[in-house]
Symmetry: C2
C-alpha cells in the first residue's frame, strides 16, 4: 500500500494535540485561542425556515454575502456580494487557497513567526518559504520570485502585532511589485482593545490579485465553523469550484444563525471586547509581577495572545518546560511551531481570553517558578 | 501570477451549475440528488448546551461517534468509536481521502460510471483511472497496480445498482489481492425500497486497508453538512490530521442535532423510505408509459436515481437535449460527466425524490417529446 507523497509532510497540529490534554478538569489553559464561553450568544432558531435543511449554494447564502460585503466596505475594502465566498471556518480558506496556489516547490512568503496551522497546510502542499515581518520586508524583493504572500496584519498570530498604516501600505506595494497573490488572514480584527489602523492590506493593493478572509469564530461561536473569504474577481470562480469539491457548501443553519446575530445585537460585540480588554490588562499585570525578569513582550492592542520572548541568557528546553507545566496543570504554546526554521531564542504564546483572573495568577506564577527552576 | 498546476484540472461541477439554473421558479428538476423537503425533521435546539459553540474535537463528538460505531456493528462492520471521524458532509471525506492517497499519476480504480464529484476531486489531485463495474472486475488484476479502489456498492450513483453478496465478496477479495486501499462510499444505504444485501464491502476485507463513509444528508438534512468515515486503524491518525488541516472540526451544533434525531425518532426514517418508494414507483410508471421505446433501465431497489441508457440507434447530442429541456423548464443530468472517458452511448440520470407526481408526469413526457424530436 502506498500513500500520497504529501502524507510524509503530515503531522499532528501541536495546538490540537495540546487541546486534548487540556480537556482534563482543573487545567489552566493559556494554550489555545479559545474564546471565553460566557461570550457566546444565545441560540434561537425559532424564526429559522426549514428550507435551510436543504442543499444550498456553494457561494453561501445571499443575504449573508450582502451583509459581509457591506461590512467590508465600511472597513475600506470595496467588494461586491458576488466576491464573497462563505467558508466552513477560516481554516478552510487556508486549505482552499493552498490548493489554488501551492505545488511542490511553490515559493510562499510568510511572517516569522506565523500562524502554525497555516504553515502546516502550506507545507502539506509543498510550499518553500521566504520569511519577512512587518518591520523588515527586505526578503521580499523581485529578484526572488514569490507566488503568494501570506499575512496576518491585525493582531498577528502569534505576536499580536498590529501593522501601522505605513506598514500596511508598504506590504501592499511589495505585493504589487512582486505580482504575487496577497493572502490576508484577519480573524482577530474585531477584538481591538486600543486604537490601531485596521484597514485591510488588500484595500491598498493596486494591481495584483488578492484574497482576504475572516472568521465568525472569535466574535460569535467557533463551534458553528463559519468564516468567509473575498477576493479579486479573477480568482473567485476557481475558489468556488474548490469549495464545491471540498464540502459542497457551508452549513446553512450556521449561516442563518450568524446572519441573525449580526443583524440583531450590535452591543454584544462591544461587551465581548470590553471583557477581553479587562482580561488582557489583568494578564499584563500578572506578567509584569512574575515574568519581567524572564521575558520581554509587546502589549497586544487586540487579539487573544501575549507573545513572550525569553531573555537571551535563558537556555530553556521548551518541550521540557511544557511537560513540567502540564504536570502542574498549566498549558501554554511553545513558540517553535510558529517558525518555518529553528530559532535560537525561546518563545511562548500565552492566551489570555479563556482563563479566569485567579487562574491567570496561579498559572503565570507556576510558569515563572518553572522557568526559574529550569534556568 | 502563477496558480498551482492542479488548477488546470479544475472545472465547475455540472451538477452545481445545473442546480443554479433549477432554482428558478416553476422548474421541474430531475437533476440533483435533493431529498424531498417534506422529509426534513423538525429542528429543536431547546436541550442543546451552549458548550457546542466552543471549539471541539477534530474527531467529532464522543457520543455521536459511539452511536455511529454501534450502528455500523449492526450492519456487519465491526468498528470502535475510536475509528470514527465525523465529517462536514461526505464530500469532505472524498477530499480527505484524495489528499491521503493521490499524487499526480496515482492509479485509482473507479466504476464506470461513477459519482462525478468524486471523479472531479480525484482528477484534481492527479488520479489516473482504471475502470470496472460490479459484473466485470477483469481490469482489476495484480499486473496493473492500483493504489485505491473507489466503490459505491449500495444503490450506486448514478446507476442505482445494489451489489449482490457475491459481488461484494468478489470486490473485497480483489482489493485484498491488489493490496490497495478500498474506499467505500455509502450515502444511500438507508434508502432501500426492496430487499438487497447492504453489508459494507469493507466488512469482507481480510487484509488490506479500507475507508468506509456515509452521510446524514440523504436521511436527515443536507443543509447541516454532516457525514462520517470509519477506517482501518492504520489510516485513522493521518485522516484526523488532514481533517484538522481542512476545517479543524465539524459543526458541533449539527452533530448534536443529528445525534438527537438519531436517538429520538425511529419511525421517521421508515416514513421517508415509504414515501420515496411511492415516488420511485410513480416515476417508474411514467417512464414505462413515455420512455420504453427510447431507453432501457434497471429499476433501482434504493437510492434516488433512475439511470437511463438511450437505445443504440438514438444519436442524440445530450448537451443540446439538456438546453432544450431547460428551455421547457425541465432539468436532468446527462450521463457523460459520470464517465472518465467518452462513451459511445447516451445516458441520463433522473432523480425521482424531489418532483411531485404531477411534475413527474409533465417532466417525463416533455423529455420523451424532445427525444422524439431530436432523433
Amino acid at each position: 500500500m502506498q500513500l500520497s507523497r504529501r502524507t510524509e509532510r503530515l503531522s499532528a497540529s501541536p495546538i490540537r494535540e495540546l487541546l486534548k490534554s487540556i480537556n482534563r478538569p482543573g487545567i489552566i489553559s493559556f494554550a489555545g485561542g479559545l474564546p471565553a464561553s460566557d461570550s457566546f450568544p444565545d441560540l434561537d432558531i425559532s424564526g429559522v425556515s426549514k428550507e435551510v435543511l436543504q442543499y444550498g449554494a456553494s457561494e453561501g447564502e445571499s443575504e449573508l454575502r450582502v451583509r459581509i460585503a457591506d461590512d467590508l466596505k465600511m472597513r475600506g475594502l470595496q467588494v461586491k456580494p458576488e466576491q464573497v465566498l462563505v467558508l466552513s471556518g477560516s481554516q478552510q480558506g487556508i486549505d482552499l487557497v493552498a490548493k489554488l496556489m501551492i505545488d511542490q516547490g511553490t515559493s510562499v512568503a510568510v511572517e516569522a513567526p506565523s500562524y502554525l496551522a497555516a504553515l502546516q497546510v502550506f507545507s502539506l502542499f509543498g510550499a518553500q518559504y521566504i520569511t519577512y515581518n512587518a518591520q523588515d520586508l527586505s526578503a521580499l524583493h523581485t529578484s526572488h520570485p514569490v507566488q503568494m504572500l501570506y499575512t496576518i496584519p491585525t493582531f498577528q498570530n502569534p505576536t499580536g502585532h498590529c501593522y501601522s498604516e505605513a506598514e500596511r501600505l508598504a506590504l501592499a506595494e511589495r505585493a504589487d511589485a512582486l505580482n504575487c497573490v496577497l493572502f490576508e488572514d484577519d480573524p482577530y480584527r474585531d477584538l481591538a482593545y486600543d486604537t490601531c489602523d485596521r484597514t485591510p492590506v488588500c484595500a491598498y493593493v493596486e494591481r495584483t490579485s488578492w484574497i482576504y478572509q475572516s472568521s465568525f469564530s472569535k466574535t460569535f461561536a467557533p463551534g458553528l465553523r463559519l468564516g468567509y473569504l473575498v477576493c479579486s474577481e479573477d480568482l473567485y470562480e476557481k475558489l468556488v469550484w474548490l469549495k464545491q469539491a471540498a464540502d459542497l457548501h457551508s452549513n446553512r443553519l450556521s449561516q442563518t444563525l450568524v446572519l441573525t446575530m449580526l443583524n440583531a445585537d450590535s452591543q454584544r460585540l462591544e461587551q465581548v471586547v470590553d471583557s477581553y480588554r479587562i482580561k488582557r490588562d489583568q494578564f499584563q499585570q500578572q506578567l509584569r509581577q512574575n515574568m519581567s525578569s524572564h521575558a520581554t513582550w509587546e502589549e497586544p492592542t487586540g487579539g487573544l495572545f501575549f507573545w513572550l520572548q525569553l531573555k537571551r541568557d535563558l537556555q530553556i528546553n521548551m518541550d521540557n518546560l511544557l511537560q513540567q507545566a502540564l504536570a502542574r496543570n498549566v498549558a501554554f504554546m511553545p513558540g517553535a511551531p510558529f517558525f518555518t526554521t529553528p530559532v535560537a531564542r525561546s518563545f511562548m504564546r500565552l492566551n489570555f481570553s479563556h482563563a479566569s483572573n485567579s487562574q491567570m495568577q496561579e498559572g503565570i506564577s507556576i510558569l515563572a517558578e518553572l522557568i526559574d527552576a529550569a534556568d
